[in-house]
């Protein structure tokens, strides 16, 4: 028996990221630079959270800032801490949703009279940089499905801005699925909720008209939704190609492609991005290029992304020959039902897509969609990201895990983390749980052989 001390070998990066995702990074950087200077170009600025209302804002000629998106961006760049410190210093609890805590911190810094550098723990340069970035809002719109924090988020920001800026709330009812005819996209509950939301969107557009003093451009909205619909179709077609084994693209690539479909301008560049993604995936399939070298396990990811750890997680799973292929966050959100959208009369289809947000459905639909993904992508295991400050995403996870095990024999594990607060996460705990799950899958395979 050798007695030398075992050292952990340098790990090879076995994750083959799709090259087009760097285009998404450039698109996002350009988008934010545009927002940072929007007021200088005479734009009205709306801060909003929740549903992808951006096609409406775009048609209204606004500059729009999605709070979660900005928080996720800061976290992905590891710049979130000063904003969170500012939020906590103002009085928001450390266990408040870290998306909102980060964004509210930015609001505190942006509203300069709230911020006294001489008494702040936030570094002067950080504070100045963050405060200088986001233009202050002219008004707020909130349209948050499923999450009570999200529904109150803009009201909190409204208070930060002295309750002087207008705020419009769109109420998105939870789709409990209790009625006998309820199901995914069907039933009286779904239809009535969709009509209710669509009516509110008309009121929201009237509100925007009153704020800008400009008649709303309905043709522009139709055009925007034509681009969104086509981009979404291409995205779904590309996702479907990942049923191939080994998969040509991963969940991490879809995470890196959330920004374009979630809040960026609807235009030809958006369509081109997803056409390019589909083409790259097709090329990989033709060339036999896998997304993960030596793919041995196919995983599903349940939970909102841990934005601080995107790169690390993509490499860590690949290190153990795990291709994470699909997820609730990526595959059950972001205009995932383009067939519902009629660009010539888009509001109802938009409302339906907002309602089927993955945290807004009853358990029956969540189970149905999870099992569907397991079957579509040949999933062996599930990583449940127990998102510490996102109760709504984590609440059903234990039941979903049991459903997957009972109905499909799919193994799973849980790891703690957060959307935008790295302090809730530890690498070694994820690693132990991941390896233990792979060992259980191996045992399952031996048993089946």
């Amino acid at each position: 028996m050798p007695v030398e001390v075992a050292e952990k070998p340098a790990t090879e990066n076995k994750f083959n990221r799709m090259s087009i995702t760097s285009v998404a990074g450039k698109m996002a950087a350009d988008y934010w630079e545009d927002i940072f200077t929007a007021r200088e170009r005479g734009k009205h600025i709306v801060w909003y959270n929740g549903s992808a209302l951006n096609p409406v804002f775009q048609a209204a000629g606004l500059g729009w800032c999605h709070g979660e998106a900005f928080s996720a961006r800061l976290a992905a760049q590891h710049l979130e801490v000063p904003a969170q410190q500012a939020g906590e210093e103002y009085g928001y609890l450390g266990e408040l949703c870290s998306y909102s805590r980060t964004h509210l911190g930015c609001a505190v810094l942006t509203k300069r009279n709230l911020y006294d550098q001489s008494q702040s723990v936030v570094g002067e340069d950080d504070a100045r940089e963050l405060a200088a970035k986001l233009p202050a809002p002219d008004f707020f719109v909130n349209a948050y499905a499923g999450c009570s924090t999200g529904q109150q988020w803009d009201a909190m920001t409204y208070r930060v801005f002295d309750k002087k800026l207008p705020l419009f709330n769109v109420s998105l009812p939870m789709l409990w699925g209790n009625k006998p005819d309820s199901g995914y996209l069907v039933g009286e509950e779904f239809e009535s909720a969709s009509a209710y939301v669509a009516e509110q969107m008309k009121d929201m557009i009237s509100f925007i008209e009153s704020q800008t003093g400009t008649p709303f451009d309905w043709d522009a909205l139709s055009e925007n939704m034509t681009y969104i619909k086509r981009a979404s179709e291409l995205r779904l077609e590309a996702m479907a190609l990942c049923a191939a084994a080994p998969t040509p693209a991963t969940y991490w690539d879809w995470v890196a492609s959330i920004a374009p479909i979630n809040f960026m301008p609807a235009n030809q560049a958006l369509v081109d991005y997803f056409a390019g993604m589909k083409a790259e995936i097709e090329q990989r399939i033709r060339d036999g290029v896998p997304a993960v070298q030596n793919e041995r396990y196919r995983f599903y990811f349940d939970g909102i992304m841990n934005w601080n750890k995107l790169g690390w997680l993509s490499r860590k799973f690949a290190e153990y020959d795990v291709a994470v292929i699909a997820g609730r966050y990526t595959h059950d959100a972001f205009w995932q039902e383009p067939d519902l959208i009629d660009p010539s009369d888009p509001l109802l289809g938009m409302a339906k897509n907002y309602l089927i947000c993955p945290i807004n459905s009853g358990l029956g639909v969540m189970k149905e969609l999870l099992l569907r993904r397991i079957d579509e992508y040949g999933i062996d295991g599930i990583a449940f990201h127990s998102t510490r400050t996102c109760r709504v995403m984590t609440n059903p996870q234990q039941i979903l895990a049991r459903t997957a095990e009972r109905e499909r024999g799919t193994k799973s594990f849980f790891f703690e983390g957060d959307v935008a607060d790295a302090s809730f996460y530890r690498d070694d705990l994820l690693e132990t749980r991941l390896i233990a799950t792979l060992e259980a899958i191996d045992a399952q395979r031996v048993r089946a052989a």
């Binding site: 050798p2 030398e4 075992a6 390896i435 233990a436 259980a440």
Partner: protein, 316 residues
């Protein structure tokens, strides 16, 4: 006397455990070494001690598997498995028919459901907080100013059920100090903390499903009070092992044994196949001078259950 032996090493957060198994899977010797923290020195001491106890040398060990929090630091390990797989394997060997393993170590706690074939079915682990782990009892002992070996007996003598948070080891220490300041009896505090840990462990069990045949492994299994409170909370008896701390290392040694034995079978088979084919080849071609080392036509792997080889075999 066994022909060969395997070594399992479980490097935890506070102890290093080493177990030697013989070729039949019998536990030959085991050692537990206390450490201040995870250290290579600690694991070296455990390995040296188990070799000495067994009368074996490193040369007798054919395969080593490591497990535990510090498994990547174990010298000479051929492979690592998580403590989940190893504790399950060890517990099943020590108590055949076990359906649920509750492992509480120095730093983490786990509930492991075992399938009917003895393999891991599912598992749940504590989150980042040390509440409900061995560290939690260290905190309790320090706050009560008693030795760690005394907390179990102290808890068993408690009569009052005080409210103690089970959510955070650090805050629990504060709570204990507050209760002492309020004049609560040490025994009642100790009992209440044990109940709290049992309650938290019950939460883990609920994630994998309650089962009837329950074994507890890990150092905390030596705490009779916790075993009692947990058994009461579960409503089912918990079986005790003689050396619950060794279950993980024993499981690792058994996995090493399984792997080595399966490799040995393959090696034996290959050697026997070669021997038989060489004999057959020699009888067909007594004059080998012109042989280029290739045999045309199928070659049979006689009576070994191996797949027939349908291609030329090089350099017999």
């Amino acid at each position: 006397m066994s022909d060969w032996y395997t070594l399992g090493v479980d490097l935890g957060s506070t102890t290093a455990k080493a177990v030697i198994s013989d070729s039949d899977g019998r536990l030959v010797a085991g050692e537990v070494v206390q450490m201040g923290a995870v250290s290579r020195e600690g694991v070296r001491r455990a390995i040296d001690a188990v070799l000495e106890r067994s009368g074996l040398t490193e040369a007798d060990i054919v395969r080593t598997i490591s497990t535990g929090y510090g498994r990547k630091l174990v010298p000479g390990a051929d492979k690592s498995y998580t403590e989940i797989t190893c504790h399950a394997r060890g517990a099943v060997a020590l108590r055949p028919g076990v359906e649920l393993v509750i492992d509480i170590g120095g730093q983490d706690s786990k509930a492991i459901a075992i399938a009917s074939d003895g393999l891991v079915d599912k598992f749940a682990m504590n989150d980042r907080c040390a509440s409900g782990t061995g560290r939690f009892f260290d905190v309790l002992a320090r706050a009560l100013e008693v030795d760690i070996t005394e907390v179990s007996d102290l808890a068993l003598s408690g009569t009052e059920d005080l409210q103690v948070s089970s959510m955070c080891a650090t805050f629990a220490e504060t709570e204990v100090i507050s209760l002492l300041a309020e004049g609560a009896e040490k025994a009642d505090i100790a009992a209440s903390v044990h109940r709290s840990v049992a309650s938290r462990t019950l939460g883990l069990v609920s994630q994998v499903g309650k089962r009837k045949q329950v074994v507890m492994t890990g150092g905390v299994a030596k705490n009779a009070a916790l075993v009692g409170f947990l058994s009461e909370a579960l409503g089912t008896p918990i079986e005790l092992l003689d050396e619950p701390q060794l279950a993980g290392a024993y499981g690792a040694a058994l996995l090493a044994r399984d792997e080595y034995a399966s490799g040995l079978l393959r090696d034996d088979a290959d050697a026997e196949t070669e021997r038989q084919m060489a004999q057959a080849f020699a009888s067909i071609t007594p004059h080998c001078a012109d042989c280029d080392g290739h045999l045309d036509g199928p070659v049979r792997a006689v009576a070994l259950g191996l797949p027939a080889v349908g291609h030329p075999v090089a350099a017999l």
